[in-house]
Symmetry: C2
Subunit: 308 residues, 2 copies
């Protein structure tokens, strides 16, 4: 049981975390902090938080856990405000989609208190934002990556992990650098590719004609191009090094495939397509058997997390 | 009312066409032709066809309409078999995803009878194949492109269009060349891009780790990489010229975006992302208002087709 938590940013991510912990009976008191008064008041009305903090010092004082769930661009400033008032018994975690840049910001802002910062990344979301979008079930069955630092203690890491498990999530562990490489490949690059295709088509002189014939395959392929441009601009640049590596590999792949088309090499092209379909089928099967295993497990607020 | 139709290939595409026409009471007699006896017998049992043709000559004799719905690679050979037995009152159409190559094959195979060939492309499908996958509703609310030739008569074009309208489809018209440019951009290239990404990831040494973190965005983005590698190899190469144009434009787009990332140009990157999201939102709104208009229209087997 956590006695007190403080949530910076009481929207979809922070609000869902608070709701899930409350529903699990895992927290006594939730304090909200944020730049927009209206969001904090709405979170109070919705029962996401018990109290709007009067100051950062007030929010952090005596907290077992602080979650940063404001836009990532604010992370360093928030940590600078927290640093002087951060007591030794409080851990701070975040929910950002990139980790190396957050770790660098945390080192600058927290200095000698860096050991109290446990970088995190819940892999969950919706296409809505704000306190009204928050759901107690948002993290149920989802992954949360903890990208722990060498300075973190096992006890502090476990406090953050246990809170996410109370939300129904499974904990995975990656170093901050590995985290950023992995998500560049499976999330950040696909977002860029989807945005790139829609923009490319939209700028053609016959764009209206083209969109008229786009069908369900195009709709699914480009769904992630409906995401927030500001947020994805920040993620793309925050993860620049890994993004450039993945993007270069992908451009090289397209150039190889271009040569297959130009030389009418059907066998090589089919090999790429068949390998992709096969790999995707294996991946879908693995997800589905994982879902079944989870559905078959006894209902509990603290599922066994695959630790790795 | 069509007195007799002949279907070459009684699977998803051909079978659904026959079922829809029968359900609409728009055809008296359906003859099936195909290489696999078991599929033809199954189509007979399922009530898709009335008769298995004893020969191509038998199938085509006296038919008002012949639909080619066998794999596209067979199109030219089938047309060569049809040519000598094709009567003046019969029209032939197809359901292939590319049109320039089909037109070229038809010109070679049919010679002076080319005017009787009306190229078509129904924009509908499922992830299943064969007679058991056929659905009378497959084409309801979907588009069918008729890529008519200069030699086609209005009466022949209208006979094909009317049959598709009986299936619940809306008719659009494009030249064969324009058709191929449009579908390279909105369908064929996205398929290649999805296959390319999954293959690229699957070939990395840490592929298993990467797939473990792929989530719903990746799933939707790569859904079309679950399509048939043989079919998409054929489509990619059949539409080679238009594919190379689109692929080159896309690679150039990625190289521009790479430069934005490398130079930390957030404003330029956000402009691409925002333009893409905006264009996609407009497209989705247009689809949804189209769907509503269709839902509000009186139920009929012959909806008003947007002719263009």
């Amino acid at each position: 049981m956590l006695d007190k938590i403080a949530i910076f940013g009481v929207g979809l991510i922070g609000g869902s975390f608070a709701l899930a912990l409350r529903q699990a009976g895992a927290v006594r008191h939730v304090v909200g902090v944020g730049r927009r008064r209206a969001s904090l008041e709405r979170a109070l009305v919705l029962g996401i938080i018990d109290e709007i903090a009067s100051s950062v010092a007030d929010a952090v004082a005596g907290a077992d856990l602080v979650l940063l769930a404001a836009p990532v661009a604010q992370t360093e400033n928030i940590l600078r405000e927290i640093a002087p008032v951060l007591g030794a018994s409080t851990v701070v975690t975040d929910a950002g989609s990139t980790k190396s840049d957050v770790v660098a910001a945390a080192r600058r802002a927290l200095g000698s208190k860096i050991a109290q910062f446990i970088p995190g990344h819940p892999i969950a979301g919706r296409e809505m934002n704000g306190p009204d979008a928050a759901l107690a079930q948002l993290y149920a069955g989802k992954k949360v990556v903890i990208a722990a630092l060498l300075e973190n203690t096992d006890e502090h890491i476990e406090r953050v992990a246990a809170a996410w498990r109370c939300c129904g999530a499974t904990i995975y562990r990656l170093s901050p650098e590995r985290h950023d490489q992995v998500f560049a490949a499976v999330s950040h690059l696909p977002h860029l590719l989807a945005y790139a295709l829609v923009d490319d088509i939209a700028r053609k002189p016959n764009a209206d004609l083209l969109f008229q014939y786009a069908a369900s395959g195009f709709r699914d392929f480009t769904r992630i191009a409906g995401s927030s441009p500001e947020m994805w601009r920040d993620i793309t640049l925050a993860n620049r090094d890994a993004m450039l590596v993945e993007l270069d590999a992908y451009i090289a792949q397209l150039q190889r495939m271009r040569a297959m088309i130009a030389t009418d090499d059907g066998a090589a092209l089919e090999a790429v397509y068949a390998n992709a379909r096969h790999a995707r089928e294996n991946w879908i099967s693995a997800i589905e058997s994982g879902d079944k295993a989870q559905a078959a497990a006894p209902a509990t607020n603290t599922p066994q997390g695959a630790q790795q």
